[in-house]
């Protein structure tokens, strides 16, 4: 019992964050909830091997793994790293609207839609950095890629989000909030 309450004490406070991560990988609330429950159970089973390193990256790695597994099981089409990732991320240029600034208040619905459409490899890195404020090395630990890759995916992810926002703003005029 002591083990269980220690686990609950360390891991349960992150349930909202774990759910948010799962949600933005699987993009639906029922699946996200299943993923979080599954992940907590797996984390608990592995808790004997937990040696007091940081709970959050450890738990998030499990959540992410469970979420990807669910996507695979469902055989959903999901966009892994696009081939052009290694090319220079010169997304800033080329887009005629890229020089305009976004209107003062960023429309939350537009950001939400833009994030949902972001390729998965960028989406989870953006979620971990922008929403959970994790460090590059923590994100590298969670996603199992080198820090340099975290950095370039985040760069590209942010640039794609901004580009998508601009597209949406032009479409709908500037009816942002």
């Amino acid at each position: 019992m002591a083990q269980q309450s220690r686990f609950e004490e360390l891991a349960l406070p992150y349930r909202d964050a774990a759910y948010n991560l799962a949600y933005w990988i699987v993009r639906n609330s029922d699946d996200a909830e299943d993923v979080v429950q599954d992940a907590y159970l797996r984390a608990y089973r592995a808790f004997n091997g937990f040696r007091g390193e940081e709970m959050r990256p450890w738990l998030f790695a499990i959540v992410r793994h469970c979420a990807y597994r669910l996507l695979k099981v469902r055989k959903r089409t999901y966009d892994l790293v696009p081939l052009d990732e290694t090319n220079s991320p010169d997304v800033a240029s080329g887009d005629p609207s890229a020089e305009d600034t976004l209107v003062e208040a960023v429309n939350a619905q537009h950001v939400r839609a833009a994030l949902a459409e972001l390729p998965l490899a960028y989406r989870d890195v953006v979620v971990l950095r922008e929403m959970e404020s994790l460090s590059y090395s923590e994100i590298a630990e969670i996603t199992g890629v080198p820090i340099g890759t975290v950095m370039s995916r985040l760069s590209r992810g942010r640039a794609l989000l901004r580009k998508a926002m601009k597209g949406r703003e032009t479409e709908s005029g500037s009816d942002a909030l």
């Binding site: 159970l41 939350a108 939400r112 922008e130 942010r158 901004r162």
Partner: protein, 252 residues
Amino acid sequence: MRCEDVQNELSPYLDGALPIEQQKAIGSHLEACRRCAAHLDDYRRIGRTLREKVIERAPAGLQERIRAELEKEEHEQSRGAPWQSRRFIAQAAALLLVAGLSGAGGWIAATTGSRTPPLAHDVMTAHVRSLLQDNLMQVASSDQHTVKPWFAGRLDFAPPVQDLATQGFALKGGRLDYVGSRRVAAVIYMRRQHVINVFTWPSDPSHPLPSLSQSSNGYNSVRWTSGGMVYWAVSDLNMKELGEFQALLSAA
């Protein structure tokens, strides 16, 4: 530097992840170039919107469902030789008790009713967790002018941060934490070797929290509201000095 090169590095620049010379070079370019500065500002505002408006919250009851799963797991693990396991007997008794209560509502009331109030529990847990792991501080600085802006991009309120080093309470840094299912500021101070976590969030006028001071499990805590903010200081420091600390913070 050319604008294109600057814009390609804005993401790591924003996170302070570039070598110091490069951070500086981009910083001075941004002071001179409005276009690149506006680009960075877009990143900032998108990030802020993601944090504040796009984040998903766990549905109600998820915590209870996770707990129930863990409970079941414990139960199944001890099924090997149940009659030899004292824990099994205790759990079986607990399960019988739970079964006797009517429905989930009764179960939740039974598991939460007799314990520490959830908010106090969250605060205590956050304090202990911050000590157990190496995540006491996300921004380590004794300079309030470094700690304050760190929070600015991460919270929708500005937690007061003060340096009380001359009074013997040294500012150590800050961190984000979760209390009562919301993001709160944790500002860390030290008194000798005692860590003080001050959790701060805007008070809810429809649910005012009365001031309180209490001790549990060897930790002391004081809570007060001032200037529209709830403050909750937790430490293993004695109650007398914690009271002095409260007086200094709320006087400043």
